[in-house]
Symmetry: C2
Subunit: 445 residues, 2 copies
């Protein structure tokens, strides 16, 4: 019974605890057992603290016995991407330079989830320095896609999506600079969410790019966002990227917009088919979908601009390590950083203009409707043996650049095939509309 519960979402697990069907200690022990069994193959975790997790679970059970739980998340399991601080655990950011570097306090979001009673299992594998989308980590080992052997779970939050898809934790935190929460969520068939820029504090995380970074949850259902978002989206006056955002009301019947030309942008036939099927399903329900062409936006130029910004930002974030122990950086990452070192300030300034221009493009989308639908990535998960598609983050990074919320939900696929993601994007401050979307029967979670 408990093993089956591990594959359920937060809401179901919360209900099971509330009904006394199991204890947090039992759930946590089962998760730890599942992790132990999975590690040799999936390698989702970089760091585990089983004793601390079991202690926290027993404390949760004690609260529950006294009818003093801290909320619906109390006693449920959380795992955290390894670029986000958990007090007493190392924060490696998937980098050899940072191996064993202990965090003394929780990141803001971790603090909030811990205060809500969550049981923290450990730290999750990720692409080195959060720059890359395969999670083929040279220092901590490759993380596998639980849906298919030898395939990437996506990145950079690959461990987070893998752990959620494989039932190793009830909730995972990831970080998303160009799509690093939504892409692995799509590749692993789970739910990924990136809020408006500034909604969720990034304080206590290793920056990839302060201008583009977002911390976001990976979950097993869309409905679970209702439990998680209010906890992690509190204003953090101590964080440079925290903003007092408007809380726009949820639109009950949002006007849909979709892209008519995803094929021309390199979307594979399977993803295109799944995407078109979702649009058709909405129309079959009597919900109009306005299709617009988006190919006039230069996705390649935006990608190069984003990459240049990240490279320069990483030089600032890892300056000391890069100076003192450059040999600990992978050849791939070193190549990126060396490219960044050669760029002048004016190239960064020009790239920032390209990033800012994303606002013009998304304003155009939202002149046609309330929620933009795009594939999350132009392809499904690919084999580690295959080359990395250059356009992987094209449909996701525009939401980072424009600072707008985006939700990735898994689309159905044939038995044995790999799922595509449907990305639902809304204007800044319109998280509530995304949370309220009714895509049951169209998406699988």
């Amino acid at each position: 019974m408990i093993k089956a519960l591990l594959m359920q979402d937060l809401s179901a697990q919360s209900q099971a605890l509330a009904r006394g069907q199991c204890s947090s200690a039992e759930l946590t022990a089962a998760a730890l057992a599942a992790i132990a069994a999975s590690q040799p193959h999936l390698n989702a975790f970089i760091h585990l603290d089983a004793p601390a997790a079991l202690l926290a679970a027993r404390q949760s059970d004690a609260r529950r016995a006294k009818k003093r739980i801290l909320g619906p998340l109390d006693g449920l399991t959380l795992a955290v991407k390894d670029n986000i601080d958990v007090a007493g655990m190392p924060t490696s950011a998937g980098m050899a330079t940072r191996r064993g570097r202990l965090a003394s306090i929780d990141a803001f979001v971790v603090q909030r989830l811990r205060a809500a009673g969550m049981v923290i299992l450990g730290k999750l594998n990720m692409h080195e320095a959060a720059l890359g989308a395969t999670n083929d980590n040279p220092h901590f080992g490759r993380c596998e896609n639980p849906l298919r052997d030898g395939y990437t779970p996506g990145g950079s939050s690959g461990g987070s999506a893998c752990a959620v898809a494989a039932g190793l934790c009830a909730l995972a935190l990831g970080s998303d600079t160009m799509g690093s929460v939504r892409i692995p969520a799509a590749y692993c068939g789970v739910v990924g969410f990136k809020a408006s820029y500034g909604r969720i504090s990034t304080a206590g995380s290793v920056a990839c790019s302060p201008m583009l970074d977002h911390i976001g949850p990976i979950l097993r259902s869309q409905r679970d966002l209702q439990l998680v978002l209010p906890v992690i989206s509190a204003f953090d006056a101590g964080c440079a990227d925290a903003r007092d955002l408007p809380d726009l009301h949820a639109l009950s019947s949002p006007r849909w917009v979709a892209a008519s030309d995803v094929e021309q942008l390199g979307t594979t036939p399977e993803v295109t088919a799944a995407y078109r099927q979702a649009i058709q399903a909405l129309r079959d329900r009597g919900q109009p979908v306005t299709e617009i062409a988006i190919g006039s936006y230069d996705f390649g130029r935006a990608r190069r601009a984003g990459l240049l910004i990240v490279e320069a930002d990483l030089l600032v974030e890892h300056q000391q390590d890069w100076e003192l122990q450059p040999q600990l950086f992978s050849a791939q990452l070193a190549r990126f950083l060396k490219f960044g070192e050669k760029q002048p300030a004016s190239a960064y300034a020009a790239a920032a203009r390209v990033v800012a221009a994303s606002h013009i493009e998304v304003a155009r989308w939202f002149s046609h409707g309330d929620v933009m639908l795009l594939p999350t990535a132009p392809q499904t998960a690919f084999s580690f043996a295959d080359p990395v598609p250059a356009n992987q983050a094209d449909f996701t990074s525009i939401a980072n650049m424009a600072g707008i919320p985006a939700l990735s939900l898994p689309l159905p696929c044939a038995a044995g095939a790999l799922p595509a993601g449907l990305q639902c994007i809304a204007p800044a401050g319109a998280e509530a509309t995304l949370l309220a979307l009714d895509l049951q029967g169209i998406c699988t979670r």
Copy 2:
């Protein structure tokens, strides 16, 4: 009578037109005469189009005769800083490279004010490329402070503040990257306003720094903002910096915050005295003012970061001119650009982090109250013969970096002395609170 009216604010002039006390053609002719008389000494204007202005004025009068005016601004005079496009006029940005470069369409804000019936007189002098705060322009001549011979009107929107203070136009537009609207407004004893980042479109202006630029009005009274802001703050989907901002309700009794340590930050005795007097006057009215120290914020570091960003951004904006005709840049500007050329992308990235950290400091201010009061500049206008104070924009640029609204109102001064400015700063989206502030009797406009 009309000559006296030129020194009145928009509201009074609008009323005079409504009452038939004068026509727009008379007002416009009087303004043109005042400009002509002032030019040899003040040199506020770089470009004038008297025939077009008189034509527009007559058209306004014709609308009025048919009782079809376009609003309270119809028939009132507007002059525009020369880095903001007015169709058919050159946009020099105070640069020799751009001399005579005609704009084919109005900037977004100009378009809005023209559609509201305003009569556009011409283009206003400014510091070269909007980088600098003296308006000692080597290509178009020095603009003088109308309050004292041989003194700077401030910059970079020096011509804008000069024209408003001298009664040469009813409203002027300026641009504000580190304080370039508020500083000249303070130095010339008039009102300057910078809205939240994204509230007023910068489309159609020559960028100083897209990240920090704001277009803002310079006016002869605080109340005039009620007429101007709704016209110029429409959302512009075609502009990269336009944002859908929350419209926070005006607070009728805002809790005041002030800085206890402005002296330690280099504020001159006269400005400190005027500032403290304003705070005391609020207390005398029974309004508590919480004083906090702000010296822990590294204003010097922020200044250097802002300057580096502007230098790199100017290289992007003027790239072609800098390559093809570098000899047309002043020695001062060339020095800035050459410094910028030597900076690596990572220096820009590091500077962007400093800019972002301004959010932490202003969040701290607003944890103590609703409106922060600061001197606009640490000094009053200074002689062109004196060295330029390095800290001129320290109290203003933090609002550009944090993207929050700030209003500069003139403080009283002894007869013959030069006025200081009182800067009222509020959180993003809280323009309404600043517009509703009641500082009558404390500020002079």
